[in-house]
Symmetry: D2
Subunit: 97 residues, 4 copies
């Protein structure tokens, strides 16, 4: 059964695949540090993992907007206000991280 | 033996500890998605992991500058130019990711 | 008369005030460069102006979501899809800039 | 006479040209808001101005590293430590803004 709380249920497998790849990237970065890889090459991989995480965040947000925010907008009232404030705060955290 | 190529040899254990924590954070995010956690709560954890990765990158860069860039500056010539260009490109990737 | 196209009509004066302050900050940075101010002090002001611009963007986006996206969500259909895609692209640009 | 404190004296005119262009961009954004331009189009220009500011910052930092940081590295001691710490803090502000 699909949770009523998540906007990403249709694309869960995609997100899981990407997150596992990122987990592998971070493990690979630890191995690079372990074996004294040149700093700049480690940094390149850290930037790649950071970009991959931001891309997951952008996709999750898109789905959240297309499902949860749209549903709340149709309902209006306090639910709409809560969803807009939450989305706004999540976007601010993404922009600043 | 310590590699002559890395600026972070003195703090390797700290970096490894932080990277393992981030690996655990990413695994935790996958579990949140797996169990249909509310999108906004997933996004909060993705932003936290992103910030943690950026912090690892800033520390690696500091050590790279304090060791490799300083050594190259004292040597001068082509080695200095290479190290400055590499550092510049790594910083640009961090700012844009 | 208020344009039907903007979500920020109620807060236009605030945005204008902030943008004029940022314009002044950028002019001040040019003056710092003009008078050979120490690089690091110039960089501090560039980061402050960048943060101020991002803050304007976050506020404009909030208002866009609260007005234009909410209205489109209630209308549904192609208008909703367009507004969601536009917002998604604007957020991606903000995260990457 | 060239100030001994700045690493960007050779490229001052370039920086000034870019900063004046950014000042014009910000003024243009205020005009867009003034005339009720559609939010998303305003946001596109805000992101462009933000990117332009970050690019100025990256260039200033490059020159600071190639001149001030290199000179301090050759001098060593407290001056080197100060310059490295300042550069590190400036980079952290750029990554977070």
């Amino acid at each position: 059964m699909v949770s009523p709380m998540t906007g990403y249920s249709g694309t869960k497998d995609d997100h899981l695949k990407r997150l596992r790849r990122i987990e592998g990237q971070v493990r690979g970065i630890a191995k690079m540090v372990e074996s004294d890889t040149y700093c700049i090459d480690v940094l390149t991989q850290v930037s790649a993992a950071t970009k991959a995480l931001q891309s997951v965040a952008l996709n999750l947000l898109d789905e959240h907007m297309a499902h949860c925010v749209v549903a709340a907008a149709r309902e209006g009232g306090a639910e709409q206000d809560t969803k807009l404030r939450e989305a706004s705060e999540a976007i601010a955290r993404m922009v600043k991280s």
